[in-house]
């Protein structure tokens, strides 16, 4: 196969961010995924989010496991740190990296196979511990790399490309994330960047475990009639509860909204999220209500999307462990080894 290198030329009027970069500067290598893969759209959304936030690429660590989704970090942020880990082990590698250097932005990119099957335990524990990260699951409901077997997130009753009906129950990753205490939970669709990009931006700014489940149709193996993760099905059954106009604290709020339609949600670090409510009853701070809302809509075959839950007060793993502000990897020998007198003191306290 001959792939053309994406030309370096860009539109002469392309906007630049605070760092003087265009969104093209946040790209990586050209995707080798199938043409039309939803994952490529998620990649584009991550690029756009980092561009709009003026993220310095060297401050990002992108960590993934194995699978189509886990290949994607190659395709964005070509100047960031990256670690392509063992199948399903992204969360533990990321947790370790985060403990060593709390100053970076951690993007964990995984798929439904990587996170709902082989790495299900890892997924649960990273969120449970509140690791400060963006955990993106590129969820297509099939094993694309092995040609289209049902994954653990495939809905019961949905049909494979060959017409076989899935008889197993599906794991709802959003439901699990809510249950085990993720402090930011969202669901979106690769075909709707207007919804997805602000969610990624908000997740990056969120201090704590932010989980985004992104339905991402597999064009090669799961985009047929009978699939519940196809472009057509998701578009028809998408029940967006809100729409996020992300706003940071640096920007004054100038948009006029009709009263009652928008909720300003202040995050831990002072950034403000403007949530345009599409469903007036939906309360984005009520974990239990969110879970039951999701159940009700899932029973009707609807896919609830939007920012589903954000904790009023969030605390991450470093907060739980009471670690020092300085990243551990920046501590010198003097600080790490305070001398025999200090050791004596500790020992004495334990006697």
């Amino acid at each position: 196969m001959t792939y053309v290198v994406k030309p370096k030329f860009h539109h002469p009027e392309l906007p630049k961010n605070e760092l003087g970069y265009t969104h093209r500067d946040y790209e990586g290598a050209v995707s080798t995924l199938c043409a039309g893969c939803g994952h490529d759209s998620i990649t584009a959304s991550i690029i756009e989010a980092c561009f709009e936030l003026s993220v310095e690429p060297h401050r990002v660590a992108k960590i993934s496991g194995i699978g189509c989704s886990s290949k994607t970090p190659t395709y964005f942020l070509g100047n960031s740190h990256g670690f392509n880990s063992v199948h399903g082990r992204m969360p533990s590698v990321l947790t370790g990296a985060n403990l060593a250097n709390r100053d970076l932005i951690y993007l964990g990119v995984s798929g439904d196979g990587d996170s709902a099957s082989i790495g299900f335990g890892q997924f649960a524990h990273a969120l449970r511990r509140g690791v400060n990260m963006v955990y993106i699951v590129e969820n297509n409901g099939v094993y694309g790399l092995t040609k289209g077997q049902f994954s653990a997130t495939a809905d019961r009753g949905s049909k494979s490309k060959r017409g076989v009906t899935n008889t197993d129950n599906a794991i709802d990753m959003v439901g699990i994330a809510l249950q085990i205490g993720a402090s930011f939970v969202a669901r979106s669709f690769s075909g709707d960047k207007k919804q997805l990009t602000p969610l990624i931006k908000a997740a990056i700014e969120h201090q704590g475990a932010a989980f985004i489940d992104v339905i991402s149709p597999c064009v090669a193996f799961n985009n047929h009639a009978g699939s519940t993760k196809s472009f057509d099905y998701v578009r028809e059954h998408n029940e967006a509860v809100n729409f996020l106009d992300f706003m940071s604290d640096r920007m004054p709020i100038t948009v006029d909204y009709a009263p009652g339609t928008v909720e300003m949600v202040e995050q831990h670090d002072g950034t403000i999220l403007a949530l345009r409510k599409l469903n007036a009853e939906y309360d984005v701070h009520d974990r239990e209500a969110a879970m039951s809302f999701l159940h009700q809509y899932a029973a009707k075959g609807q896919i609830v999307t939007g920012l589903l839950y954000v904790a009023q007060e969030s605390e991450d793993l470093h907060g739980h462990l009471n670690t020092v502000e300085t990243p551990l990897n920046a501590l010198s020998a003097k600080e790490l080894c305070p001398g025999s007198a200090a050791l004596e003191k500790i020992n004495a306290s334990l006697r």
């Binding site: 053309v4 043409a35 039309g36 759209s41 584009a44 064009v219």
Partner: protein, 596 residues
């Protein structure tokens, strides 16, 4: 916005900016691809079909295509389209066997062509193979018109000119050189079936200021002087020369002077440097030959002593613009400046002159004393008389003369067949998908980042020594291939089929130029502001397509599309395809059939 009708030939023609801008609509990307493939003869024939004089135009064309070239909007400089045309001419094989043959049987129609320049020759080339008896009259002994008399040999070697004029004269055309037509009435009386007037704009404008008469011996009209140089009647000039005027004729005058003994040659222009009519590259070439250009100086007087020219006195001016943006030259009040010199060449413009057309012969003239000519059919108010080239609308350039010639030939053919000349044949369009495999296209879609390559020049000392030594040496094969690679293949069009699209955004994500947007439809101004990247070039169309499941529209801004085909490569359903749109202007019938 209304959805785009891509079946209208003009839509995709406009996307091929170079071809659209070319008066003769030469399929530029097509011949550049042929050059890249080493098929120089084929590239030459594509040109010959459209613009008749590839070797001549490849050296002298005013290149309206290059400012239009999309590459110039993507990076700094356009593709060197003109000089690539020369490459085709330089490296072609003997193509004579591929030219049309003289008509085996004449159709009995006789056409008179006044003037043997590019316009008349283009008409004759189109008509002669169809059986028309074409008779070309010229005051000069050889054909070529201004291409021979006004373009210096160091820009256009005689051999190239002779070759391409001969290709046409060999089609069984009667050329009557040395015969000046001095009565239209007499010509009409000879009962030709049609008369084409392509006699150029032969009168150089004079400068009637004090001293003109007294010093006339050393004051020359530019185009007349160039013509005398061309025919070898003049072969020297004084050491100090002042050239008045800022057009290409002035540039040819000053550079010729440098080769005939002019050691200190100056060009003095009324206007500013930027507003000069000369092409930027011609100004550059003149300055490279140590010819300074002085601006904002209005000639006031020729100074003389004992009947001999001693210099030119100039008034200093500055440009001021009124509310309507019209320029006025206002004296600055500074003292006048005098340039001493031995000779002056006046190249301040040229005019049409039709003293030989009796005003009562049925050809109407307008208030500027120009014939009334229909720009589409080139017809005058006399049913049998057509105009073209500089004779039609005043001085333009060779490529316009060729375009006029093609149009006039169609009119003459239709006239002789008794058909309405206002009905014009539609262009010929050929569409073909370029897809060969999942990631394979039958054109080179890899985009090079190379900057424009300079054409090698003859060393200055050698060039100035011989007025016949061509200055530009032309690209060698290696440079030609590299320059050809810069072409973006704008004729390979991005064609979108809404019914096939699943709106996966793959094309939006991959497009390096952010050309593609899926959004709600709206008015054009509104749409232009809502795209992935702002669409501010209003002369470039938006391609709008519907039939999408979500009810949105696909909007593509054609402006800076690289035609790299990545949208089609990343499209999972084939909704995007890269299709070559070859658009060819239909010429008078036979010429089309002889197309390579």
């Amino acid at each position: 916005m209304k959805t785009t009708d891509i079946s209208a030939p003009d839509y995709f023609h406009k996307v091929v900016d170079c071809q659209w801008a070319c008066p003769a609509h030469t399929p530029v990307p097509e011949y550049i691809r042929l050059i890249a493939a080493g098929r120089y003869s084929d590239a030459y024939m594509v040109n010959w079909h459209s613009n008749v004089f590839p070797g001549i135009l490849g050296r002298t064309c005013d290149r309206p295509c290059e400012p239009a070239c999309r590459r110039g909007r993507v990076e700094k400089e356009p593709v060197a389209i003109c000089r690539l045309k020369r490459v085709a001419a330089d490296f072609k094989d003997d193509i004579r066997s591929r030219l049309p043959k003289p008509a085996a049987q004449k159709n009995g129609k006789r056409i008179a062509l006044v003037g043997g320049g590019p316009a008349s020759l283009a008409v004759a080339r189109d008509l002669a193979p169809m059986g028309y008896d074409c008779v070309v009259f010229d005051q000069d002994p050889q054909s070529g018109g201004m291409m021979r008399t006004q373009i210096p040999k160091f820009r256009l070697p005689e051999s190239v000119l002779d070759e391409e004029c001969q290709y046409i004269l060999n089609l069984g055309i009667e050329f009557i050189g040395g015969k000046r037509i001095d009565s239209m009435k007499a010509l009409l009386a000879e009962n030709f079936d049609a008369i084409f007037v392509g006699c150029g704009a032969p009168r150089g404008r004079d400068l009637d200021i004090p001293g003109r008469q007294e010093a006339k011996e050393h004051i020359h009209i530019g185009i007349d002087w160039l013509s005398s140089v061309s025919f070898g009647h003049i072969n020297s000039i004084g050491k100090h020369v002042v050239v008045l005027g800022g057009g290409n004729t002035a540039m040819d005058c000053c550079r010729s002077s440098r080769r005939l003994g002019g050691e200190e040659v100056k060009v003095v222009v009324r206007s500013g440097f930027e507003e000069m009519k000369a092409s930027p590259w011609e100004k550059e070439d003149a300055m490279h030959e140590d010819i300074p250009i002085f601006n904002f100086l209005v000639p006031k007087e020729f100074t003389h002593e004992d009947g001999k020219l001693t210099g030119v006195l100039f008034e200093k001016v500055k440009a001021e613009y009124d509310a309507k943006g019209r320029r006025k030259l206002i004296p600055t009040g500074e003292p006048d400046e005098r340039f001493p010199c031995d000779d002056v060449l006046v190249a301040v413009g040229q005019e049409n002159a039709f003293p030989w057309i009796e005003r009562d012969c049925g050809i109407e003239f307008d208030k500027w004393d120009m014939p009334k000519v229909d720009p589409k059919t080139m017809a005058s108010t006399h049913a049998k008389v057509f105009f073209g080239g500089d004779a039609a609308f005043g001085p333009k350039n060779i490529i316009w003369a060729v375009a006029h010639g093609h149009d006039a030939a169609i009119s003459i053919d239709r006239l002789c067949r008794g058909e309405d000349i206002n009905v014009r044949p539609p262009p010929q369009v050929a569409v073909s998908s370029q897809k060969m495999g999942i990631h394979e296209w039958s054109y080179d879609n890899e985009i090079t980042l190379d900057k424009r390559y300079r054409v090698p020049h003859r060393e200055k000392i050698l060039a100035l020594r011989d007025i016949k030594a061509e200055v530009e040496l032309g690209y060698d094969v290696e440079l030609a291939l590299k320059e050809a690679d810069r072409c973006l293949n704008c004729d390979v069009q991005t064609v979108f089929t809404g019914q096939l699209c699943i709106e996966c955004d793959a094309c939006v994500d991959i497009c390096p130029m952010d050309c593609i947007t899926f959004t709600q439809n709206g008015e054009e101004a509104d749409l232009r502001s809502r795209l992935q990247a702002p669409a501010k070039t209003l002369t470039q169309d938006l391609y709008v397509a519907n039939d999408l499941k979500t009810g949105r529209v696909m909007v593509k801004d054609e402006d800076v599309c690289l035609h790299c085909g990545l949208c089609a490569e990343r499209c999972p359903t084939g909704a995007w395809d890269m299709q070559k749109y070859l658009i060819d202007m239909t010429l008078a019938e036979q010429a089309c059939q002889s197309k390579a």
